[in-house]
């Protein structure tokens, strides 16, 4: 919302400076977006009087001017055809910056004659494109108060700073300058002048009458409309002062009648519309549009309407879209002499919906959808008549109307101590009353330390006590609220994180220490990639995606992480290790949005190194990552089982899942070559996903740890090699060996896998190192033999393995 300083002063009697006003606006909740003072750019330029303009001796088109600048006479060579003796122009001294040409003016010679300044055209001053001649401040020869040396900005009327503020959606009352003035007055920056809306008596009956033709259940679409006719008006340009203000806030002056409607829209927040009465056939009627009806609007476009939209229609058809935009056909032109005025109230919600549907953004819609002061329908016809009669002459009819102005009067109470108990600052009751009354909330009763005030018609946003607290506080100033530390509920803070959140943090640490870099990628992906990862749930496909890359909620975190690896490879960084701890989405229910730690390792294990040659990443890198995460989050890693049923985006023979019984805690392995090809990635790429939500919560046994078992005897290591069928998983052999004597066997490590003709077809040899930890006494040879025999027997029994000779 833009307005000029002088415009504000039409409503606010104030001695405050521009700076004070600008500062206060933000602190009132009318956030200052900017102040632009056009005079600042014009400081170097002054009135110059041409004492004499004579022909340049060496150039036909140039004149040599003796210019009185107020600080001495200066010679200027000038090429303008209108330069003449006795002229008042705009003088720029040598050394000043000329905005229109973006040049620094220098002294010099032009065709052998000294020139020490310049007389400027409008274009050179940056005001317009006018460059036919230099600015003539007194074209008719009447100098008036002009004196050489006067600053130019006030003379050109360019000393009115433009203030731009952001208006929050609740403050429709400040979408007119008057509302802003009211707030500033309440805050002590001046006095609100009375609204100038004298009742204008009509001199004839309006030939056009308003009609409301709305179904019973849609009466609120336009509860009330008023208007009046004007006859014998002359619609020329509006006065210069009005044009200047409209231009200053970015509007294009059109004609007096149209400018009046725009001016009142910004001055009082009251959109108006004027019809050329001679182009209206029959009585203008408020009704709902019919399916397929069209209207050519004032913006030159044709809009197709539907029955949810309120329109103004006559026998010719649609003449306007209610609260949004008038129609072109009945619009006012320079030739208009008879006018019919519309001052309506439209339903904010319907106006917003229609405006959105039609894609029309207008100053009227902006105000109607935020809620208009219903009382403006009462004073609107008077204000409009005043301007029309003043600027266009003619006569005004009596006011005509249809419908009822809705009664929005209501009272809200405010306990005198509420500013302190809710707002944190004690404001004396008298001060509260004064603030509220300044804002237009008359306090109607004060009983039992409770203020009751009536809410002014222009504040639809005020509904309860908290709203009044805000009104008092913002005028009092938020800076007056004492800073109060939040009292602690306990002397020491309780843990902020849940176990689940701690796990995510632990997983992050574990993966960083595994050399992986953390990423944060989008939760949504393109449809083809989603399908690659088995997406088939329509409920998680966006209805209004903004790009084909972001359509479906990802069914696996690997989708976006693999894409990230691909982007890095495209940039020349093919060997990367990335991880993300983030959600995957199985459905739209809260429980279908699971936290996952996902890892992608692409390319080789590192750069080429003189001593540690890199190797391609393989499934065991991914398995190690998965186990590292599970260990970090406190999963019982010892009890994990491996299965070979990883999801289909993994290589079927080089992947697995880590389980606790039926619960899958993690999947790992090489990424399926088909997926890599589709994602344009060179393999092998390995990955894992750890489903953090599946990890059982820590057992609630407190923090106590079991006593350490530090046997005083040396451990003994024995090696075994078993020949088993190729199909027997190593884990099964390890488990069998370990289970042979749970008390004595501390650890079993698998240190070799061997396949060879000597073993026979479909056989492999697994070499185990078994660590025995005696607890009672040093192991005797017999005891050692006994446990060895048990190990061999167990592996034979469970895995069909034989000890290799």
């Amino acid at each position: 919302m833009k307005f000029t300083f002088s415009w504000l002063k039409d409503h606010l009697e104030t001695e405050a400076s521009l700076e004070e006003i600008a500062e206060k606006l933000s602190m009132l909740g009318l956030e200052l977006e900017g102040v632009e003072n056009p005079a600042e750019k014009l400081v170097p330029f002054v009135v110059g009087y041409v004492i004499e303009a004579s022909q340049h001796p060496n150039a036909d088109r140039l004149r040599v001017c003796r210019v009185e600048t107020g600080s001495g006479e200066v010679q200027v060579v000038c090429g303008a055809p209108n330069a003449r003796t006795g002229m008042y122009g705009v003088f720029a001294a040598a050394g000043s910056y000329v905005p229109g040409t973006e040049l620094l003016l220098k002294s010099g010679q032009i065709r052998g004659i000294d020139s020490n300044g310049m007389l400027l055209s409008e274009r050179e001053l940056g005001l317009s494109d006018e460059h036919e001649g230099i600015i003539d401040l007194a074209p008719d020869g009447e100098a008036g108060d002009l004196k050489p040396g006067q600053p130019i900005a006030p003379i050109l009327g360019l000393d009115d700073p433009v203030i731009d503020i952001a208006i929050t959606p609740n403050r429709s009352d400040c979408l007119g300058v008057r509302g802003v003035a009211r707030d500033l007055a309440a805050a002590g920056l001046g006095k609100l002048k009375p609204l100038s809306a004298p009742k204008i008596e009509g001199t004839f009956e309006s030939p056009l009458k308003w009609v409301r033709d709305l179904p019973a259940d849609l009466q609120e679409a336009c509860p009330y409309v008023a208007g009046r006719s004007f006859r014998g008006v002359k619609n020329g340009p509006s006065p210069a002062w009005m044009q200047k203000r409209l231009k200053a806030i970015g509007l294009r002056p059109i004609s007096a009648l149209v400018d009046i409607t725009n001016y009142v829209t910004f001055d009082l927040g009251r959109p108006l519309h004027v019809f050329d009465a001679d182009k209206v056939k029959g009585n203008p009627t408020m009704r709902m549009a019919r399916d397929g009806e069209e209207v050519l609007a004032l913006d030159g476009r044709t809009y197709s309407l539907d029955p949810s939209m309120t329109v103004i229609a006559d026998e010719n058809g649609i003449e306007g879209i209610g609260g949004i935009m008038g129609g072109e056909l009945s619009g006012c032109t320079e030739e208009t002499t008879n006018v019919f005025l519309e001052v309506a109230l439209f339903d904010p919600v319907r106006t917003a919906a229609s405006g959105r549907k039609l894609g029309i953004v207008s100053d009227a819609r902006y105000r109607f959808e935020r809620g208009l002061d219903p009382d403006s329908a009462r004073w609107g016809p008077e204000v409009a008549a005043r301007w029309v009669l003043e600027l266009c002459g003619g006569e005004a009819s009596h006011v005509v109307s249809a419908g009822e102005i809705p009664d929005t009067s209501r009272s809200v109470t405010l306990r005198e101590n509420r500013c302190e108990s809710l707002g944190g600052v004690a404001v004396p009751a008298e001060r509260q009353v004064a603030i509220l009354e300044h804002l237009g909330f008359p306090v109607t009763s004060r009983k039992g330390r409770t203020l009751t005030c009536s809410v002014p018609s222009w504040r639809p946003d005020i509904v309860g006590e908290a709203d009044l607290v805000e009104e008092v506080l913002r005028i009092q100033g938020y800076e007056d609220i004492p800073v109060t530390p939040l009292p602690r509920e306990t002397a020491l803070p309780r843990p902020a994180l849940t176990d689940r959140q701690r796990r995510a943090s632990a997983a992050r640490n574990a993966l960083c220490w595994a050399g992986l870099n953390e990423c944060v990628t989008y939760s949504f992906i393109d449809e083809p990639t989603a399908e690659l990862f088995g997406w088939d749930e329509p409920a998680i496909k966006l209805d209004n995606p903004i790009s084909t890359d972001l359509v479906v909620m990802r069914p696996s975190v690997l989708t976006t992480l693999l894409q990230a690896a691909q982007r890095n490879a495209d940039r020349g960084y093919g060997d990367v290790g990335l991880f993300e701890i983030g959600p995957l989405y199985q459905g739209d229910a809260p429980e279908g949005q699971d936290w996952t730690a996902a890892v992608v390792r692409a390319g080789e294990s590192g750069p080429r190194h003189w001593n540690a040659p890199p190797r391609p990443r393989d499934a065991f890198d991914a398995k190690a990552d998965a186990v590292a995460v599970l260990e970090a989050v406190g999963a019982p890693v010892e009890n994990l089982q491996v299965s070979t049923d990883a999801p289909h985006w993994y290589h079927p023979g080089r992947s697995g899942q880590l389980r606790l019984g039926p619960k899958v805690l993690a999947a790992f392995g090489e990424v399926h070559p088909r997926i890599l090809r589709r994602l344009d990635l060179k393999g092998p790429v390995v990955a894992c996903e750890v489903f953090l939500e599946q990890v059982p919560p820590p057992k609630k046994a407190g923090k106590l740890k079991a006593a350490a078992d530090l046997a005083p005897f040396q451990p003994v290591e024995r090696d075994f090699a078993f020949v088993v069928d190729e199909t027997v998983p190593a884990e099964k052999v390890l488990r069998a060996a370990k289970g042979a004597d749970k008390a004595l066997i501390a650890q079993v490590d698998l240190f070799d896998v061997f396949r060879g003709a000597a073993l026979g077809e479909g056989k492999k040899s697994l070499a185990l190192a078994v660590t025995l930890q005696p607890r009672e006494a040093t192991l005797t040879e017999e005891a050692l033999e006994a446990v060895s025999a048990k190990i061999v027997a167990q592996v034979e029994k469970h895995c069909g393995g034989t000890l290799r000779g």
């Binding site: 909740g29 956030e31 929050t168 959606p169 904010p348 919906a353 302190e420 108990s421 809710l422 600052v425 309860g464 805000e470 506080l473 913002r474 938020y478 609220i481 800073v483 109060t484 939040l486 306990t490 803070p493 309780r494 843990p495 902020a496 994180l497 689940r500 959140q501 992050r508 640490n509 960083c512 220490w513 050399g515 870099n517 953390e518 990423c519 944060v520 990628t521 989008y522 939760s523 949504f524 329509p538 409920a539 496909k541 966006l542 209805d543 209004n544 903004i546 790009s547 990230a564 982007r567 940039r571 960084y573 990335l578 991880f579 701890i581 989405y585 229910a589 809260p590 003189w610 001593n611």
Partner: protein, 356 residues
């Protein structure tokens, strides 16, 4: 000079002169081995009478001890020489690169979230979470944003397909639904922060369709706007590490708070360089206010008894301001160069005690 003396002298000379460990070992064997000369002489003692045996035995023992000491001494000498020789041969070009041991880095969003938890945790807040795919009630209605509200229209919401009952799920446009869920499930007093992913259908240089927010909520019987100021001023100063950071509260509007405020922090933008701290400019960083009584009622909390404040801010934004990251988009691009440049070593979880 007796035979024994000359034997001793011979053996000791040989010991001192032994050129290497092998010669020394040969000498030990020839002197003290099973068939060594001293051993032989010891064996011969049996044939002597007790007196002579004793005397001769003592003499032999002296020779044996002397030889043993001489061998030990020479061995140490030779080992020292051998070590020196080896050391002279054994040299590495230690300027060669060591075997790589890479540590990955924490994403700035995670780091910032941990910092937020550290600060607000210290003030007694716990961390709450909620789903990203939300229903209208939690994302809008409960927060006093009815369907026709301009704020709802301006939020650029991502929608999911309409269900048979006409309802539509949305991607949460803010983390406020977590506040709603917390109020529905927890009896006051409440003190939570809710950091997490949020989504808006907007994509340009300064907007990402997915970004992160943190919101805070305090509900009890007496928390007022002074506490809101106290909490957020402390937060801003702790987070940016500027003790005298100016913090300004301006009236504003949010449907879910009343009164509402926007918070600015002091900064200077001289020479195009943004510096957070006392300066001649302000930078808006968060929105806040006292929870609107309607929101409390919508969440089943008695607004005549309970009150409190809420606040919210963008995590990327405060990270960019604190760490001088100029652009938003690279946060989600996973460019390894960016991750390595702006990431954080996972050495220490942020904490107020250690410093942020």
């Amino acid at each position: 000079m007796t035979d024994l003396d000359s034997l001793k002298s011979e053996l000791l000379t040989a010991a001192h002169a032994a050129p290497d460990l092998a010669a020394l070992e040969a000498l030990r064997v020839s002197g003290l081995g099973k068939k060594g000369r001293i051993t032989q002489l010891m064996k011969g003692l049996g044939g002597l009478d007790p007196e002579a045996r004793k005397a001769q035995g003592q003499a032999l023992n002296l020779v044996k001890d002397a030889l043993q000491s001489a061998i030990e001494a020479r061995k140490a000498e030779l080992e020292e020489v051998e070590l020196e020789r080896r050391l002279a041969e054994e040299s590495l070009d230690v300027s060669l690169p060591a075997r790589p041991r890479e540590v990955g880095l924490v994403h700035p969003i995670s780091q910032t979230m941990e910092e937020l938890v550290a600060i607000f945790g210290e003030m007694g807040f716990t961390v709450a979470e909620g789903p990203h795919i939300e229903d209208d009630f939690h994302n809008f209605d409960a927060l006093n944003i009815p369907p026709e509200h301009p704020a709802r229209q301006e939020m650029d919401t991502f929608y999911f397909p309409e269900k048979p009952d006409g309802s539509r799920m949305v991607l949460r446009t803010h983390t406020s639904p977590v506040q709603v869920r917390t109020m529905q499930s927890t009896k006051p007093p409440i003190r939570v922060i809710a950091p997490g992913r949020t989504f808006r259908a907007d994509h340009d240089a300064t907007h990402s369709p997915m970004f992160h927010q943190v919101e805070g909520l305090v509900i009890d019987e007496s928390t007022h706007m002074g506490h809101l100021k106290g909490t957020l001023i402390e937060f801003c100063r702790a987070y940016f590490g500027v003790d005298d950071l100016p913090v300004r509260f301006r009236p504003s509007y949010f449907p879910f708070t009343e009164p509402s405020a926007e918070v600015d922090i002091g900064c200077s933008k001289k020479g195009g360089q943004l510096v957070i701290g006392a300066g001649d400019d302000w930078l808006e960083i968060l929105g806040c206010g006292m929870v609107n009584p309607k929101v409390l009622e919508n969440c089943g909390i008695d607004s005549s008894k309970y009150q409190g404040f809420a606040f919210g801010m963008g995590i990327e934004r405060i990270a960019m301001l604190k760490y001088g990251m100029p652009d938003l988009r690279p946060f989600y691009d996973s460019d390894i160069r960016w991750l390595r440049h702006y990431g954080f070593v996972p050495l220490e979880t942020p904490s107020m005690v250690r410093g942020l």
